[in-house]
Amino acid sequence: MGPFVALALNGFREARRNRVTLLVGIFAIAMLLSTTLVLEVTVNTFDRVLTDVGLGAMSLMLVLLTIFLSSGLISREIERRTIFLMVSKPISRGAFLVGRLLGNMLTVTVLQLAMAALFFGMMAFYKSPITSAHLAAIGMLWFELWVLSGVGFLMSSFSSQMVSAFVTVSVYVAGNLAPDIYKLAGKSKSGAVQSLGEAVYYVLPDLSKLNYRPHATYYAEITSAELLSSAGYAMAYTGVLVSLAVLLFNRRDFR
């Protein structure tokens, strides 16, 4: 096992032994199971509600967990002074950072797989049809979590956990509204506002590109080219964030 894998598995072990992760996991599964209560009050839209509430609960819990884990990923190491024992090891700072990020994503992925298995189990139990749109929605949520992890991770490399979490939540909200911000700014008569809206749109991650939950709810068609383009966008955006984090982290003094 190389140092890289050792760091990633250690990150997973850290999250597994963290009570917050455990609580979020239990709460997420309880939320998914409670979907059945909502179904009691539906008549004709049974399948849609099951998909909507199930995928919504999954998304909400995983986004919260990702923000919690990624925003403290490096800042916690610095605050608790564990960084001194790690960065002094014969590994590059970049490898340390990426190893920690992978450990984080491994935790989120395992929890997402468990939640997806439960969700599909419930759909099968209620004989609700499972389409490729459901798979796409869950797959693209995973890419969305990568982007959010990247934002939290970048912030965490130079600021406290509170600041990182606040910025990541803000980016999540603004990122989902990015196309609306762009359209709204476009309607302005001021050239400056239009340029600002354009700049905000290109700087912020367009998370609406990764939201396929409405497609799953309404059984809409999704092309593989569309999926590939969205996944590529998410990974490229994450790549830029991680590169920036490595660049900043490499120049940092640990006093």
């Binding site: 140092p3 050792a6 250690n10 850290e14 564990t82 024992l85 090891k89 014969p90 003094d253 006093r255």
Partner: protein, 320 residues
Amino acid sequence: MSSPTPIEIRNLSKTYRLGFFMNRQVRALQSLDLTLMPGQVYGLLGPNGAGKSTTIKILMNLVQPSEGEARLFGMAPTNREARRRVGYVPENPAPYEYLTGREFITLSGRLAGMSGKELDDRVNEVIGMVQMTRAANLQIRRYSKGMVQRVALAQALVSKPDLLILDEPTSGLDPVGRRQIRDLILEERHRGTTILFCTHIIPDVEALCDRVAVLVGGRRVREGSVAELVSAQATHMELTVEGLPLERIQTLGIELEQARVLENRVLLRVRDAEAQRLLKLLLEQGGRVTQLQPARFSLEELFLRALEEAKQGPVGGEIS
């Protein structure tokens, strides 16, 4: 091919930029030169803020120097191959609390490139060396400070380093804990490991180090072997005399700084300049001089004197 010199530091300086706008400058280290030869135990002695930890952090690639250079085995500290040969224990070490001692030492071994049976065997060996066998499978959050310090030392030793860098390894420990850590360092010294040891606890330096550098205000103000530093400051001689009573010695006309009677011997302390004359007179009077040696000037006195002298000149600290 890499140089065998474990540590070479030339003209090393570090100025920290602090504050929101990075407009406050604090000088932590000024033009430091230092060389550690293989097998040496080298002590960096100095008060808080002297620049000891900054020097070590530059060597461990935790801090980047402002000027000058530091080399580990002829390589820059940023080079992973250089750090592979080094075991490091920071001041107040903080291993991951959610891991057990064994897990943390194993992780450290993996990060140093070890694996498989070689790693497992070495982990068991170092756990035994630091006497943590019974507590190895407990989470570190349950450890006492002494246990954390021993785990930190074990993680530094796991990769069989050629060079150990220890930042205040005994600070905050009770006498038993200090003794255990000191014994472990002595064992490593006997194995031939080069050790850079930074502390402000003088008895530890006297017990462990071959050479010492005293840092004050980011500058090196003294350097040499413990014996050299101590004897260079010796301004008095001590004599042990038999066969002459103290009353008789006091009539010889030499000013005695100190005189004590012990059973059939008299212990005398005189200024260096008077020693030869006293010796001659004692022998003429029929006394037997059984011991003659420079009076021991403690490292602590030397350290305090160095501090006093350094206060006269420019020192580190906030410069703007």
